[in-house]
C-alpha cells in the first residue's frame, strides 16, 4: 500500500534579488508502507530539501511552489476512531484530503503540519550529534515529544516509554537522566532514533543518518534502523550521498541531481541495470568492497547553480553523453524496461517502475560500456552549444 | 631586456594576483555592507560629521565669535541689559538676528556651536577608539596565541583586575591625576575600554590558531611574531574595526558623562560641554533649543558609530 505519494513537487528558495533557487523541480515518487526508500545524490542536489519540504521544515526562505504530498494519514482532528480520515473531511472540498483518505501535506497550514510531524512522520536530522539539546536530559527530550502528541499521557508513563525506547536501541534506561554531552556519538545517534520512534510514526525520514560516524558505528546504526523497521513496520525515507549505504538498506531508491530525480526504481535495478549517465558517474566515484582494483572516477565539473536554471537537462553540462536534444528541455522519466525491450522512449506511468530521465535510455548498452572507462569522464570536452 | 620585462610583468602579475582577491574581498564586503540600510545611514551621518569637523565654517551660519544682536566682531556696541535679558534666545530667522537653533545664554548661536563641536567629538571618538584598539588587539592576539600559557594567564588576570575597577570613577581618578585636557580624557577612556577588544580578539585568535594554515605556517618554521601578525592579525582586523566603532561611540558618551560631572575641558567646544553649560546656567527646562540639539548630535554620532560597527559585524561575520 502506498504510504506517501509525492506528486510533481517543486520547492524553491527565494533569494534576495527576486530570483529563486529551484531546489526541487517537479519531482514525483511513491513510498510504500514498510519499505525503505532512498534518496541519493551529491550535496546540493535537493534531496534534503525534498525531505524537509514534506513536513514543512524548510528554512524560512523556502516554499513549496507546486505539487502535492499525499500521505496516508491525517490530522488527529480529522480522524475517525480507526485512524482513517472522516468521510465528512474527505467530502469537504476545503480540506486537502483525497477520496482514498490520503491528505495533502503540502496543503496543510503550519499549525496543522505540526500535528503530523513526529506523530506520523518523524525525522532523524542530518547531524544527530547536535540534535540533542545540551541543556535538557535526554529522557526528557523524548518525553517532550510524547507529551506533545499524546498530551493525555501521564508524565510517569511517558517517562517509562522513553526509557523503554532507549533500551530498545541499546541504551541503558537510566541514561535517560544523562545529558547529551555524556553520550558518545553513536549513543546520541541511537538516542535520536529512539526519540524518532517515540510516537510510533508510520514514516521515518533519516537524513544522512551515518555521515558523521565512523564506519563501525555506521554499520550498527544501519542495523539499528533495519531492526526498528522490522519491529515497527515503519517506512524509512533515507537520504544520503553515500550510494553504498543506499545499496545496503534501501528497497527502492531515487537518484537526484539538480533538483530533479534522474533515475528511480528498485535498488537492485538501479545498481544492476543502471540506466542514467549521472547514476553511472556516481557509481564510479564510490568504492565497492567487492571490486578490489576499482579505479575511482569522479564526475568532472560542479553541480549546477539552481538559481533560475536554464532549459535543458540539468546534467548536460557534465554529461559525456549529452546530445543536441539535452539542451532543449529536461528529459522526462522514461520507463527503462520499455526502452530496453522496445527501444522506444515512453514516459513511465508507474512511479514504482524503473525510470530514468535521459534521452538516450535507448542506447543504454553503449553508454554503460563507455561509462566504465575513465577517459570518458576525464577527457570530455564540454562544449556549450 | 625582454626577460626583464617579462620579469616585470610576472611581478606585476604576482602582485595583481596577490592583491586581486583582497580587492575582491573589499568590493564584495562593501557591497554586502551597503545591503545594510542601517550601516549606510550610519556612514552618511558619519560623513556629515566629518565634513562638519573639517569645514565647520562652510556649514555654520556664524563664527564662534558671533554674538546675538552684535553680529561678528569687531563689535560696535555692547549688549544692552534688555538684550541680555532675552538670552538664551529661541530660534530666530532674521528678526532680530539669524540663529536657526537659537542662542545660548552668552548669545552664541547654538547651531554654530553644534557644528564647531563636531571636531572634538570626532577626535575623541576616533582617537580613543583607535587607542583602545591599539592596546586591546595586540594584547588579545598575544593572549590568544599563547592561550593557556602563563602569558595568557597573566594578561587575563590583568583584564580581570581592570574589570574590577568601575569605569567612570576610575576615569575621574585618571583625569584628576593627569589634568582635564581632552588628550587626557582620551587616554583615560582608552585605558579603561580596551578590555572588551582584548577578550574578543583573544577568543577569535584561539579559534584561528587551530586553523590549518596557521598549523602549516608553524610547520614551515615561521616565527611566532610572523604567525601572529602575518597570518592571524589580518583575519581579526575586520572584527577589531567593529570594536573600534563601538569603542568610539562609547568614548563619545563617556566624554559627555565626564562633562556632565564637570570633569571635561570646558574651554573646548564640545556637545558634552554645551550640555554641561546649560545645566550650569540653569536653563535645562527653559531652553529646549539649547538642550535638545547637543544631545541629539551626540546620540546621532554615537549611533552612527554603532550602526557602522554592527553592520560591519554582519559583513565580517562568517555565519551570515
Amino acid at each position: 500500500m502506498t504510504l506517501l505519494e509525492v506528486e510533481d513537487l517543486s520547492v524553491r528558495y527565494a533569494v534576495d534579488d527576486d530570483s529563486a533557487v529551484h531546489a526541487v523541480d517537479h519531482v514525483s515518487f511513491d513510498v510504500e508502507a514498510g519499505e525503505t526508500y532512498g534518496l541519493v545524490g551529491e550535496s546540493g542536489c535537493g534531496k534534503t530539501t525534498l525531505a524537509k519540504s514534506l513536513i514543512h521544515l524548510l528554512d524560512s526562505n523556502g516554499y513549496v511552489e507546486s505539487g502535492h504530498v499525499w500521505y496516508d494519514g491525517t490530522l488527529p482532528a480529522w480522524e475517525d476512531d480507526h485512524g482513517e480520515a472522516k468521510q465528512a473531511v474527505i467530502d469537504d472540498p476545503d480540506k486537502p484530503v483525497r477520496g482514498d483518505g490520503k491528505t495533502d501535506l503540502a496543503a496543510l497550514s503550519n499549525s496543522q503540519i505540526r500535528d503530523v510531524r513526529w506523530r506520523d512522520i518523524a525525522l532523524i536530522p542530518q547531524s544527530a550529534m547536535n540534535a540533542l539539546n545540551p541543556v535538557y536530559k535526554v529522557g526528557d527530550q523524548i518525553t517532550e515529544a510524547i507529551l506533545r502528541h499524546e498530551p493525555e499521557t501521564p508524565k510517569q508513563e511517558a517517562d517509562d516509554r522513553a526509557r523503554d525506547l532507549l533500551e530498545r536501541v541499546g541504551i541503558e534506561p537510566e541514561r535517560a537522566d544523562d545529558y547529551a554531552h555524556q553520550f558518545s556519538g553513536g549513543m546520541k545517534q541511537r538516542a535520536v532514533i529512539a526519540m524518532a520512534m517515540a510516537c510510533n510514526p508510520d514514516m521515518l525520514i533519516a537524513d544522512e543518518p551515518t555521515t558523521a560516524l565512523d564506519v563501525i558505528i555506521q554499520d550498527r546504526i544501519l542495523e539499528e534502523l533495519e531492526a526498528i523497521q522490522e519491529e515497527f513496520g515503519v517506512s524509512i525515507l533515507v537520504i544520503s550521498h553515500d550510494i553504498s549505504v543506499m545499496a545496503e538498506i534501501c528497497d527502492r531508491m531515487a537518484v537526484m541531481y539538480g533538483g530533479k530525480i534522474m533515475e528511480s526504481g528498485r535498488t537492485r535495478d538501479i545498481f544492476e541495470e543502471t540506466s542514467n549517465p549521472y547514476t553511472l558517474g556516481l557509481k564510479n566515484s564510490f568504492p565497492t568492497i567487492t571490486e578490489a582494483d576499482q579505479e575511482l572516477v569522479s564526475i568532472p565539473g560542479t553541480p549546477p547553480t539552481l538559481r533560475d536554471p536554464e532549459e535543458g537537462c540539468r546534467f548536460r553540462a557534465r554529461c559525456p553523453f549529452a546530445i543536441e536534444e539535452c539542451h532543449s528541455s529536461h528529459p522526462p522519466m522514461y520507463d527503462v524496461e520499455e526502452a530496453i525491450e522496445t527501444g522506444r522512449l515512453v514516459e513511465a506511468a508507474d512511479q514504482r517502475a524503473h525510470r530514468s530521465a535521459c534521452y538516450r535510455v535507448d542506447e543504454l548498452d553503449t553508454i554503460r560500456t563507455q561509462a566504465t572507462k575513465e577517459e570518458t569522464w576525464t577527457e570530455q570536452t564540454i562544449e556549450s552549444r | 631586456m625582454a626577460t626583464e620585462r617579462s620579469d616585470d610583468r610576472s611581478t606585476l602579475e604576482a602582485a595583481r594576483k596577490r592583491w586581486e582577491p583582497r580587492f575582491e574581498r573589499l568590493r564584495s564586503g562593501w557591497s554586502r555592507f551597503t545591503e545594510h540600510r542601517m550601516g549606510v545611514v550610519g556612514l552618511f551621518i558619519f560623513v556629515v560629521y566629518v565634513l562638519w569637523a573639517l569645514f565647520p565654517g562652510v556649514f555654520a551660519p556664524h563664527s564662534t565669535q558671533w554674538v546675538a544682536y552684535l553680529g561678528e566682531p569687531p563689535f560696535d556696541a555692547r549688549l544692552s541689559a534688555e538684550q541680555i535679558e532675552t538670552l538664551p534666545h529661541p530660534p530666530a530667522f532674521g528678526d532680530p538676528f539669524f540663529a536657526p537653533l537659537g542662542t545660548n545664554s552668552d548669545g552664541q548661536g547654538v547651531l554654530t556651536l553644534l557644528i564647531y563641536s563636531a571636531y572634538n567629538a570626532m577626535y575623541i571618538g576616533l582617537a580613543a577608539g583607535l587607542l583602545s584598539t591599539l592596546v586591546g588587539v595586540p594584547l588579545g592576539l598575544i593572549s590568544g596565541f599563547y592561550g593557556d600559557t602563563w602569558i595568557d594567564e597573566t594578561i587575563q588576570r590583568f583584564v580581570d583586575i581592570m574589570y574590577g575597577l568601575p569605569f567612570l570613577p576610575f576615569l575621574i581618578v585618571l583625569v584628576a591625576i593627569r589634568g582635564m585636557s581632552t588628550t587626557n580624557i582620551i587616554i583615560g577612556i582608552a585605558v579603561t575600554s580596551w578590555l572588551n577588544n582584548c577578550i574578543v580578539i583573544r577568543g577569535e585568535t584561539l579559534s584561528l590558531k587551530e586553523r590549518s594554515y596557521v598549523e602549516s605556517a608553524k610547520v614551515a618554521g615561521a616565527s611566532d611574531t610572523r604567525i601572529i601578525f602575518r597570518h592571524i592579525m589580518p583575519n581579526v582586523l575586520p572584527l577589531s574595526f567593529v570594536y573600534l566603532a563601538q569603542d568610539a561611540a562609547g568614548a563619545i558618551l563617556a566624554q559627555a558623562s565626564l562633562a556632565y560631572l564637570g570633569l571635561a575641558d570646558f574651554t573646548s567646544l564640545s556637545w558634552g560641554i554645551m550640555l554641561r553649560n546649560i545645566q550650569n546656567s540653569g536653563y535645562v527646562f527653559q531652553a529646549w533649543w539649547w538642550l535638545i540639539p547637543p544631545g541629539l548630535a551626540l546620540m546621532l554620532l554615537a549611533a552612527a558609530f554603532y550602526f557602522i560597527g554592527f553592520s560591519m559585524e554582519d559583513v565580517t561575520n562568517p555565519q551570515q
Binding site: - | D106, M180, A264, F266
Partner: protein
C-alpha cells in the same frame, strides 16, 4: 585664620580654601558665583539693571505672631556630620548652629558684638607678656544661667563653660585652633563680680567674636569623649547644646529635622534686649515649630524643588537664570543681601614679571569688568575693587572720607582701559604705561588714559619704582603667534620675552566646577585682551582640588581665579589670613621627614604678599589685629585694605549680589539687606521667621 562672625562663618571661610572641596567639586556652589543682583540699599549704588525690588518685611512685635509651622529648607550638599567641632562644612552649620550657642552674638546689621550666653564682659592688659612679647590680656565674663538650660532640659552652670573651654583647649579641634591658640587658660574667676576669666597670650581686638564665638559644649555629654572627631552626637541622644533647637530626625544624606517646639527647658537668648533694638529683628523667637532640611544633589534639583514649592527656601543664592522666574512667580520673593566675600584673580609675586607692580596693574587694565559684570553675570554682580565686600562698610577705605561706595574714582584705579570700539582694550595706552615706567602708587594723576584722584586713606603702594624695564618688539612666543588676538608686538621684560624668562607663557588656572561657563568666557576674554597687548598668557583647566594643591600647597602657579565667602566684618583676621606674611610660605622651612620643601601645608596667602619689602601690608595688619580699640582697629584695617588694593597682589573681580529666595506666601519676617541673609545669618532668620499673615503690619 579665624575671623568670622559665627562659628558657621568660620567654616565657610575655610571652604574657600578647599575644606569643602566636595561642595565645589560637583554641584557648583556659592562663592564668587555667577549669581547676584544689584543692591539698592543705602551706601551702595546700583550697577546693574533695575530688578524688582523685594524689601524685607517690617519687623512686627513678637506678641502678635502666631507660632507654629514647619519651614522646609533645601541644601545642595549633605551635612557630613553634626559634630559641632569636628565638622568643617557650612552645611553642617545649618544644623549645628541651631543647637549650639556661644558666649557672644553679633549684630547682623552693624556687626557689633552683643551678649549671648555671656551676659557681660571686660578686658584688661596684664603685666606679663607672652611668647612673642605681646602683653597678656585677661578677659572677665559672667555667664547667663537664668532662663537658659541645655536643650535636653539639663541645668546650665558657669562651671560647665569653664569645662567646655578646657576640653576644647585639650582637644584643639582644627576648626577653632586659631582662636584657641590665643587662649592660655580659662577658669572660674576669683573676682566677686565675675563668674569666669580667660587669659589670652596676646591682645586680640576681636576676642568677643573669636574666643567668645566658640560653641559651648555640654559637660554631661562630652565628658567621656576622648577623641572629639569620632563622637557622633545623634547616636548619643544629642546633639545637646544651649541653642533653641533639637534634632528630631537625622538622615545625613537626605533629610534632617530641627525642632524648636520640642526643646526641653528654657531658652531666652532670642529675646535679649539688644535684638529688639536692631532694626528689622523681631525678638522673641523662634516662632516656627521646626525646620526641615532636605538635601539635593544638584543645583538644578534644588532650584526646581523651590520653584515647585517643595521647599520654602534654600541655602544661599538662587541661580541667576532663575531670578526672572522667581520674580514672576506668585508667592515667592527674593530677599536682597550682600556678598560676604569676593571673587578674585591672584598673582604669584615670586615670579617675574608678576613681582613688579606696574605689570600687575596692567593685568587689571586689561580686565573688561563691564563685559564680566553686565553681560556674563547679567548685572547680578558688583564690580570688584577692595578685598572687603561692600556690605562691610566700616572697614572699607571709602569710610575714611565719606566717598561713594564702589563708584568713587579712587576705587576704580585699575578699571578696564577701553579702546576705540566697545570691549576692546586700549593697547597703545596700556603699552605706553609700561614703557614709560608709570605706576599707580596712590598719587593722583592720569594713568593709561584714566584719571585717578589719589588714595582715600593716604596710603601709598609699597613699591616706589618699577623693577623692570618694559619694551615691545616682534612677536616671538608661539602662544601669541597662534593666538586669535593676533598682536602686532610682544612685550620684553628687561629685554627678554616672558616666555623665555619663565620657560613658557604665563599660565592662568581655571577651575571648572565653579561657574564654569561664565568663568571660562571671562578668562577667554581677559587672556585675549592681554594677548592683544602682547603679553603671552594661556589658560589651563584644572580640577578644583588640583588647582588647590598647585596654588595653596605648592605655590606653583602664575595666576589663578577663586572666590572667598564669609570674610570677617572686622577685616582683621581676613587680612591676616590672606595677606600677612605669616600665612605665606617662603619655602624656606622643610617639613615632614624627607621633604626638601614645604609643599603640603596649605597657607592662605599663596601670592607671597608680605614676604617682600616692596609688597607688604604686614604692619598695618598687625596693628589692626592687636588693637583692642575699635576705632583704631578699623582705621588700620581700612589703610591695609587700600594698600593691598594699590599693591595689587589680587585683582578683585566681583562681589555677588545676593538674592535669597523665600516662600513669601507662607512665611514672613525675613531680614534683608544684610550680608549672607540665607547663609551666614540664617540663624537670625530662623529665630524670627514666622507664618505669613500674623505679626507684621
Amino acid at each position: 585664620m579665624s575671623d568670622n562672625q559665627t562659628d558657621s562663618g568660620r567654616r565657610r571661610f575655610m571652604k574657600g580654601t578647599g575644606v569643602a572641596a566636595v561642595s565645589l567639586g560637583l554641584a557648583g556652589c556659592s562663592g564668587g558665583g555667577d549669581e547676584g543682583t544689584e543692591t539698592t540699599s543705602e551706601g551702595t549704588t546700583s550697577e546693574g539693571t533695575e530688578t524688582t525690588e523685594s524689601t524685607p518685611t517690617e519687623a512686627g512685635s513678637a506678641e502678635d505672631i502666631e507660632e507654629g509651622g514647619i519651614f522646609n529648607f533645601g541644601m545642595g550638599q549633605p551635612p557630613n556630620n553634626i559634630n559641632p567641632i569636628a565638622s568643617s562644612s557650612a552645611y553642617s552649620g545649618v544644623i549645628t548652629d541651631r543647637i549650639y550657642e556661644s558666649g557672644a552674638a553679633i549684630d547682623p546689621v552693624n556687626f557689633e558684638m552683643h551678649p549671648n550666653v555671656f551676659t557681660d564682659w571686660t578686658s584688661e592688659e596684664m603685666d606679663e607678656t607672652g611668647d612673642d612679647d605681646q602683653p597678656n590680656v585677661r578677659l572677665l565674663f559672667n555667664v547667663r544661667t537664668d532662663g537658659l538650660t541645655w536643650n535636653d532640659g539639663t541645668e546650665f552652670t558657669a562651671e560647665q563653660v569653664v569645662w567646655s573651654y578646657n576640653y576644647l583647649l585639650e582637644q584643639m579641634p582644627g576648626a577653632y585652633v586659631a582662636s584657641l591658640n590665643a587662649i592660655d587658660e580659662v577658669s572660674m574667676s576669683d573676682e566677686s563680680d565675675w563668674d569666669c576669666e580667660m587669659i589670652l597670650n596676646s591682645p586680640v581686638g576681636t576676642f568677643a567674636f573669636d574666643q567668645f564665638g566658640i560653641p559651648i559644649l555640654p559637660k554631661h555629654k562630652w565628658e567621656g569623649v576622648s577623641d572629639f572627631s569620632t563622637y557622633q552626637p545623634y547616636e548619643n541622644d544629642g546633639p545637646v547644646g544651649l541653642g533653641p533647637g533639637v534634632v528630631t530626625q537625622y538622615q545625613p544624606d537626605t533629610s534632617i529635622e530641627v525642632s524648636f517646639a520640642e526643646r526641653e527647658g528654657e531658652y531666652n537668648l532670642a529675646s535679649l534686649p539688644w535684638r529688639e533694638e536692631v532694626n528689622g529683628i523681631i525678638a522673641g523667637g523662634p516662632f516656627i515649630d521646626a525646620m526641615r532640611i532636605s538635601v539635593y544633589s544638584s543645583e538644578s534639583a534644588l532650584t526646581q524643588a523651590f520653584l515647585e514649592g517643595e521647599i520654602d527656601s534654600l541655602y544661599d543664592n538662587i541661580r541667576t537664570s532663575s531670578i526672572d522666574e522667581v520674580e514672576n512667580t506668585d508667592g515667592v520673593e527674593l530677599v536682597d543681601g550682600f556678598d560676604t566675600g569676593y571673587s578674585h584673580v591672584s598673582f604669584n609675586l615670586r615670579r617675574t614679571p608678576l613681582d613688579d607692580l606696574p605689570f600687575r596693574q596692567v593685568l587689571g587694565f586689561a580686565f573688561d569688568d563691564v563685559y564680566w559684570v553686565q553681560q556674563l553675570q547679567r548685572g547680578y554682580a558688583q564690580k570688584g575693587d577692595f578685598v572687603m565686600p561692600p556690605g562691610y562698610t566700616a572697614v572699607r577705605p571709602e569710610t575714611s572720607n565719606n566717598a561713594e561706595l564702589l563708584t568713587a574714582p579712587a576705587t576704580n584705579a585699575f578699571d578696564f582701559r577701553q579702546g576705540d570700539s566697545p570691549g576692546a582694550v586700549d593697547v597703545d595706552g596700556v603699552r605706553s604705561f609700561l614703557t614709560e615706567g608709570q605706576m599707580i602708587t596712590g598719587e593722583g594723576g592720569t594713568y593709561a588714559g584714566f584719571d585717578y584722584p589719589g588714595s582715600l586713606t593716604g596710603v601709598t603702594a609699597s613699591q616706589t619704582e618699577p623693577k623692570h624695564e618694559y619694551t615691545f618688539g616682534p612677536v616671538e612666543s608661539s602662544v601669541l603667534r597662534q593666538s586669535d588676538a593676533d598682536p602686532d608686538q610682544e612685550i620684553r621684560v628687561d629685554g627678554e620675552t616672558i616666555t623665555s624668562i619663565n620657560d613658557g607663557p604665563l599660565t592662568m588656572f581655571v577651575d571648572p566646577p565653579q561657574d564654569s561657563p561664565q568663568m571660562a568666557k571671562m578668562t577667554e576674554n581677559w587672556v585675549s585682551m592681554l594677548q592683544q597687548i602682547g603679553i603671552p598668557v594661556e589658560q589651563q583647566v584644572l580640577s578644583f582640588n588640583t588647582a588647590l594643591t598647585r596654588v595653596y600647597s605648592e605655590e606653583n602657579f602664575d595666576m589663578f581665579e577663586m572666590g572667598w565667602v564669609n570674610l570677617s566684618p572686622f577685616a582683621t583676621n581676613t587680612l591676616y589670613g590672606l595677606f600677612h606674611s605669616d600665612n605665606a610660605d617662603d619655602h624656606s622651612v622643610a617639613e615632614g621627614d624627607d621633604e626638601e620643601n614645604n609643599t603640603s601645608t596649605s597657607l592662605n596667602n599663596p601670592m607671597g604678599y608680605g614676604l617682600f619689602e616692596d609688597a607688604t601690608a604686614d604692619d598695618l595688619i598687625s596693628t589692626a589685629r592687636t588693637s583692642l580699640d575699635t576705632e583704631a582697629r578699623n582705621a588700620a584695617a581700612r589703610e591695609a585694605v587700600e594698600k593691598i588694593y594699590l599693591d595689587f597682589p589680587t585683582m578683585v573681580t566681583m562681589y555677588n549680589v545676593v538674592k535669597w529666595p523665600v516662600n513669601s506666601a507662607e512665611w514672613d519676617g525675613f531680614l534683608g539687606d544684610i550680608p549672607g541673609p540665607g547663609s551666614t545669618y540664617l540663624g537670625v532668620q530662623m529665630l524670627q521667621v514666622h507664618q505669613a499673615g500674623s505679626g507684621s503690619e
